[in-house]
């Protein structure tokens, strides 16, 4: 049944492609469909399907107009309604899919206002993995309360997937702890995948989502507006983000965040994250490892 669901998601994602490319994509074997992660379209080059072993080229060169058509289909021919995210280089699509875009940036007064002459696109085949955080979530409580937690892994390790599911678990209620009010700052639209105000991914019944907003601006907004118990954010990368999470921690709000780092030792090596540890904003770290059997999660105590 799970395999069927994976194939179904593949076929849903393929329906975003222009007809000629869609037919080729749907001709793949079920085994390949079940594990495919992305469609990659580059003008003048063959469309490829990203499989665990690498990119598989299909027998069709992508024409520039097909990139425009992909964009039109993804936005239901309402590109103007998605202008804010197009200029950021992505589209959130109904069903939880994301389309990444490259082309010519239209710069006005030093700001990118649009992408024209699209040259590349990637359609990510989103597969929600509900339950991946189910066993982990109860381990993140200390003294009856959720302890602020960092999720660590190198790129592509599954941080966003885990963040989404932990947000859902905490919002629904973990074991005896009951549901928590979670505010999710979804700056890049990858966690909840909002389409016209509706999350395409399940992030829980008590989760408020602020999307397309930088974390440093979004955290004070939800602190003022939503009275959260937990704030969840994806990819802490800049000093302003650190200041904002420190502000939230100072207000007694618990945090759930992801960082690109293999482990806690790597955090200590980077001056930006060292500061975060020294400020004792987070109490726990979850290290995500990929093994042949799947992903494993190891909880570590941070200096507190």
């Amino acid at each position: 049944l799970k395999k069927d669901a994976n194939i179904l998601r593949y076929e849903e994602a393929a329906s975003l492609l222009p007809v000629r490319l869609r037919k080729l994509a749907l001709a793949l074997s079920d085994e390949q469909k079940a594990v495919a992660e992305e469609f990659r379209l580059r003008a003048g080059a063959p469309i490829t399907v990203l499989l665990p072993e690498g990119e598989l080229p299909l027998e069709a060169e992508v024409e520039p107009v097909e990139l425009e058509t992909l964009c039109d289909i993804s936005t239901e021919f309402s590109r103007y309604a998605a202008a804010e995210t197009i200029r950021e280089g992505y589209l959130s699509v109904r069903g939880g899919f994301r389309v990444g875009l490259c082309g010519t940036a239209v710069m006005k007064e030093g700001v990118n206002t649009n992408l024209k002459n699209l040259s590349s696109a990637v359609v990510r085949i989103a597969r929600e993995q509900k339950g991946v955080g189910g066993d982990l979530a109860p381990q993140l409580f200390r003294d009856g309360e959720f302890a602020s937690t960092l999720l660590l892994s190198p790129p592509g390790g599954g941080k966003t997937t885990l963040l989404r599911d932990l947000a859902r678990c905490l919002s629904t209620g973990v074991a005896d702890y009951g549901p928590r009010r979670v505010s999710l700052i979804d700056e890049r639209g990858e966690v909840a995948v909002m389409v016209r105000g509706q999350p395409q991914m399940d992030v829980g019944p008590h989760t408020d989502i602020l999307d397309a907003c930088p974390k440093s601006l979004g955290i004070p907004i939800v602190l003022r507006a939503m009275n959260p118990q937990i704030i969840a954010v994806d990819e802490i990368t800049i000093r302003e983000d650190l200041k904002a999470v420190a502000l939230a921690a100072g207000c007694g709000v618990r945090l759930l965040a992801t960082i690109h780092a293999a482990d806690v030792a790597e955090l200590w090596e980077k001056p930006l994250y060292r500061q975060l540890l020294e400020d004792r904003v987070f109490r726990l770290a979850v290290r995500i490892s990929r093994t042949e059997a799947g992903r494993t999660y190891q909880v570590e105590e941070l200096p507190w």
């Binding site: 425009e68 039109d72 239901e76 021919f77 103007y80 309604a81």
Partner: protein
């Protein structure tokens, strides 16, 4: 008596032809006027409210003589179909003059805000210009059609008698 009845029938036929022709012209004018109104609203909605196209087209379909065009296009946009082909096909079925049908059929709703609004503005301008010309021609055409229908009927009556 039979000749008189026949004459009335021929005159009635002439009047019917005149009325059908008049109704058809009025329908073309009303459809054109509805289309121009809808396209103007469409451009404003895109600019001001950024209403997604399927919802926008469905809204425009209500109480509009070109409603079928908008409904079919909305469905194609929502389903990820070939919007341009559907739009062209439905536009060709509108009760308009051939030149106006071509203006509507060639309207391309794909692209970003700037290109869509430009295309709508251009189509609206062309249709409004055409409507103006038709309005100017209307009294003359009506007079000519009336004269033609009744003259033809009168001629037939004379020949019949």
């Amino acid at each position: 008596m039979v000749k008189l009845l026949g004459s009335f029938c021929v005159l009635g036929g002439g009047a019917l032809a005149w009325w059908i022709q008049r109704r058809s012209r009025r329908e073309r004018q009303n459809t054109l006027s509805d289309l121009i109104r809808a396209l103007r609203r469409m451009r404003e909605e895109i600019r001001m409210a950024r209403t997604p196209l399927p919802a926008l087209l469905e809204g425009l379909a209500a109480d509009n003589r070109a409603g079928s065009l908008f409904l079919h296009a909305a469905e194609a946009a929502r389903q990820g179909g070939d919007l341009a082909a559907v739009w062209r096909r439905e536009a060709q079925a509108l009760p308009l003059e051939a030149r106006d049908r071509e203006i509507v059929a060639s309207l391309d709703l794909r692209g970003d805000e700037e290109s869509v609004c430009k295309a709508i503005s251009l189509a609206t301008y062309d249709l409004a210009k055409s409507a103006g010309e038709q309005e100017q021609r209307r009294p003359e055409e009506e007079k000519r059609a009336t004269a033609l229908c009744f003259s033809a009927a009168a001629l037939l009556v004379i020949l019949l008698i």
